[in-house]
């Protein structure tokens, strides 16, 4: 069956419908995990609330292991999955910028929309900043175009660079993630004893 759209299992016209449905589900889960509160989100940076860490790493390891199982059972064709092209320098810089905005604003772009959905005004301010940034990028594009397109390494995966098979990465990452989950549980418990004014 493979990836459904490249293999034509679902006709091409449905991709927007599926995208909307997946977006709705994603927003629901984000909100239900408590990500529309900026305190929860920046908690991982200040070290008192690690929900972000747990949710996202759970998603990553479930997806990794799940993909490997699906590939093994033939339901999915891993060679047909779209891999984002890697532009090394620009992506590192983009990550730094995004991290700074994350901490300062208290949202990441997706959670800001879930926060708007529940009516928070600071998310509106965040959104305004988002669009200002996008406009600024567009206007400055002629000057940064060269840097933006530099460092192209192709659609590579870690497996292709290091030659280590994918399931080793999955296993190691899962073990590390599970260990980190229990670790931060200990950290949180200790911090909560000290912080009395923040209700989790």
């Amino acid at each position: 069956m493979g990836p459904l759209f490249p293999n034509g299992v679902i006709a091409g016209g449905w991709d927007y419908v599926v995208a909307v449905l997946i977006g709705v589900a994603f927003g629901f889960i984000l909100e239900a995990s408590g990500f529309s509160s900026s305190r929860n989100i920046v908690g991982v940076f200040y070290g008192y609330n690690f929900v972000v860490l747990r949710v996202f790493f759970t998603a990553v390891i479930v997806a990794m292991v799940g993909l490997l199982y699906f590939n093994y059972f033939g339901i999915l064709d891993l060679t047909k999955i779209f891999i984002l092209p890697t532009y090394l320098g620009p992506m590192i810089l983009g990550g730094v910028i995004m991290g700074v905005g994350f901490i300062m604003g208290g949202f990441c772009p997706g959670t800001s929309f879930t926060a708007i959905a529940i009516g928070k005004l600071d998310a509106v301010a965040y959104l305004a900043g988002l669009y200002l940034g996008m406009a600024g990028f567009t206007m400055a594009y002629p000057y940064i175009a060269d840097f933006f397109n530099s460092g192209y390494l192709g659609h590579i995966t870690l497996t292709q660079i290091t030659g280590i098979p994918a399931h080793w990465f999955a296993f190691t990452f899962t073990v590390i993630a599970l260990a980190v989950f229990w670790g931060v549980l200990g950290i949180e418990k200790r911090i909560r004893k000290n912080m009395t004014d923040y209700k989790f």
Partner: protein, 203 residues
């Protein structure tokens, strides 16, 4: 609460551990049997010897000729720029890299077309596209390009064009002089109308 988390952690760990035992399924992807049959019955995989000759003469860069006979026969004679992949080593990993190159048309040749056709079926089973079989094989190549037969008088005019082309191809491939034979002149006998002064007919 604690118990659930412990259970979940253990479950996840087990799943991830299970992935370690996935052997590298590097076997090449194959198309479904039904699809294979559809491709088999679909016409269009045969190319004529004239077509192949034309592509060779024009130095068509997208042409890739694969000769599936054994090495001795290949060294004895083969088409220019042909690659020898004996049929029994067709599925070696290195040889498989000759297929699936974008925009290259692969043409299989053999003495008759049967071994080439068999190679075609296997390569098609592996899902490669743009593969063809030269109809009649090298036997037919001899009969049409190396020693073309002059068309009969009763054949359509296009046969004459084909024959002219084949003679040119023959010159190209063997370096021999073409024996250009004039199509034999048909003796047309014109019978002159007898002049008679008899007027037949009415007023």
């Amino acid at each position: 609460m604690k118990r659930i988390y412990i259970f979940l952690t253990a479950f996840m760990f087990l799943l991830a551990f299970g992935t370690l035992f996935f052997n590298e399924t590097n076997k090449p992807e194959q198309i479904e049997p039904q699809k294979l049959l559809m491709e088999i019955v679909r016409p269009g995989r045969y190319v004529t010897t004239d077509h192949v000759a034309k592509m060779i003469i024009q130095n068509n860069p997208s042409l890739e000729i694969i000769d599936v006979r054994n090495e001795n026969e290949f060294n004895n004679y083969s088409l220019p720029k042909a690659i020898n992949i004996p049929l029994d080593s067709l599925l070696n990993k290195n040889n498989l890299l000759y297929f699936g190159i974008p925009d290259m048309k692969v043409v299989f040749i053999s003495n008759d077309a049967i071994a080439a056709d068999q190679a075609w079926v296997f390569i098609k089973r592996l899902g490669f596209k743009n593969t063809f079989v030269m109809k009649g094989g090298l036997n037919h190549w001899m009969e049409t390009i190396i020693e073309p037969q002059a068309p009969e008088q009763t054949e359509p005019a296009t046969a004459l064009d084909t024959y002219a082309f084949r003679q040119g191809a023959r010159m190209y491939f063997t370096g021999g002089k073409a024996e250009i034979s004039e199509p034999s002149k048909i003796n047309v006998q014109v019978r002159k109308r007898k002049k008679t002064n008899v007027v037949a007919g009415g007023c």
